[in-house]
């Protein structure tokens, strides 16, 4: 197991495959805890109202039920939620976080119990000062409860299947008509440059207009320097269209002669 600089835990499986888990930072964890604290307050307030009705029958019984229920909710909320939702509470669901075993193995019930009971120390002397400090100092953003339970909190991975068809397929590509040049382009382009171009296309809508123009101008210049296509193939192509056509050539082997 090794640690990257970018808040990511890298795990190597026995098969030699490396996968990364994006670790949740102290701020997102604190916000999730804030949501959870609000949920606990709301639940106990509702309970108070409900038990108020029970007080009409017996005030002593109502007080007893409230004392026990408050205790069970405040201690059991995290345990119950994380067990039922496999590592998530309401706050963690809102902030898209999840508790995981530090070795990415299955989260055990005892780990959930230990990390939640250790909260008593993490909360000291108030507002998660001990836990927050431990979280900031820890390489894997672990509070003391996480250290004891061998758990980490990660940002939820997207699980939707990727769809590149929309990006790379179905549009006319004037460069594809020059097979000898496209073959040369593939030969001269490094995988890293190809990945940068594809990433830029996938994230183009997230960019500011000026930055988008500059990025695609730079990329287009780079690819033009590798292979020069005839003027009739590239005229009226913007830099972004040029990069899109180049990327399609790099990532789609099936030749098309539209």
């Amino acid at each position: 197991m090794r640690y990257a600089r970018t808040n990511t835990l890298l795990l190597r499986t026995p098969e030699g495959i490396v996968f990364s888990l994006p670790l949740a930072g102290p701020v997102s964890r604190f916000l999730a805890w804030g949501v959870d604290a609000a949920c606990i307050v709301a639940a106990t307030s509702l309970l108070h109202e409900f038990i108020g009705l029970l007080g009409n029958i017996s005030a002593g019984l109502a007080d007893t039920v409230y004392v026990i229920a408050y205790f069970v909710i405040s201690i059991g909320y995290g345990i119950a939620c994380e067990w039922y939702w496999r590592g998530q509470t309401i706050g963690k669901r809102v902030l898209k976080l999840r508790v995981m075993d530090a070795q990415a193995l299955r989260l055990d019930f005892s780990q959930i119990v230990v990390r939640n009971l250790l909260r008593f120390v993490d909360l000291l002397p108030g507002l998660y000062l001990v836990g927050g400090t431990a979280c900031v100092l820890s390489r894997r953003f672990q509070r003391l409860g996480d250290l004891a339970a061998n758990t980490i909190v990660v940002r939820n991975q997207e699980t939707a299947q990727p769809n590149l068809e929309q990006l790379l397929g179905g549009k006319f590509n004037s460069l594809l008509e020059y097979r000898h040049l496209t073959a040369r382009l593939r030969q001269r382009t490094s995988p890293q440059a190809a990945a940068v171009a594809l990433d830029a296309l996938l994230r183009r809508d997230e960019l500011e207009p000026q930055a988008r123009l500059q990025l695609f101008a730079g990329l287009a210049d780079h690819f033009r320097s590798l292979v020069e296509f005839p003027m009739e193939a590239v005229e009226q192509l913007s830099d972004e269209q040029y990069v899109r056509n180049v990327t399609e050539i790099l990532y789609r082997r099936t030749e098309r002669t539209n």
Partner: protein, 334 residues
Amino acid sequence: MILDLTRFLAEERKHWTELEATLDRIDRNPDQRMQLTELLKFHELYERASADLAKIETFASEPEIRRYLEGLVARAYSEIHETREKQTRLNPWRWFVERFPQTFRRHLGPFWLALAVTIAGCVFGGVAIRIDPEAKQVIMPFPGLRDDPSERVRREESSKEDRLAGHKSTFAAQLMTHNTQVAIFTMALGITWGAGTMITLFYNGVILGAVAVDYVYAGQARFLLGWLLPHGAIEIPAILLGGQAGFLLASALIGWGSRKPRRQRLREIAPDLTTIIFGAGILLIWAGIVESFLSQYHQPVIPYALKIAFGATELVALTLFLARSGAAAEKRTK
């Protein structure tokens, strides 16, 4: 070489979908056991997704597919490589009468340490109150304990009214929750390499020793036993169990005499910590009920002999329970 992503996606997508469906099925029904053929298929799909991830990282660096595959491989990895036994449905009775005492016996060292620290605190508190009676004002946590013991006994025994009337169950609930918090806190402080657990147990011992010596030297030993023994026979061992769990956590952190990595040591003790602290919690429910409904009533309402006999019986029963319960089942599994 750059990967032909579209063809790669077209060929592999169906296998990813199948793996995702298998993982969703496991999520929905974790207790279900797979047939051998299903397991082999699951393993094949995992290896295929892993290989696809390696291909993407080597030949394409495409972030969206990589993120998706990483998520898929991470989920499958946790199921394939987990060697701990899957949790079966819990039988609460068997857990309490078998697993809880068995777990207690497996970790007797930390329990004796917790007991020794508490006794050391008792001795310190007793000696402190004898050589400096003024220390009572500092040591005793509640104003009621700072009074003259003989005066309190006279007041309690002559009282005609039930001061807990109508509030006994609420008082019991407050005692249960407070004492359970103390036990959890004692366990949780084990994360300070045991220092916090030791301080908590020692301080509890100091109060207990000071109160005991104060009442014994005031000639109120019988009142003391009748007052403390019915609930203390369960409550004090339950707090010691919290201490046992705290020292167990500390020993896993420190790792004396163990060549295992810290993570593995902590992973191994987590189920035992959970069992001990839940067991202590159950004992404290009983202790809270006894303290509220029995301990607070003195002679002539309830004779001291009866209360002392009750407390002594509880102590013997608890000792036998922790020492013997589940031993036969333990032998069978060995």
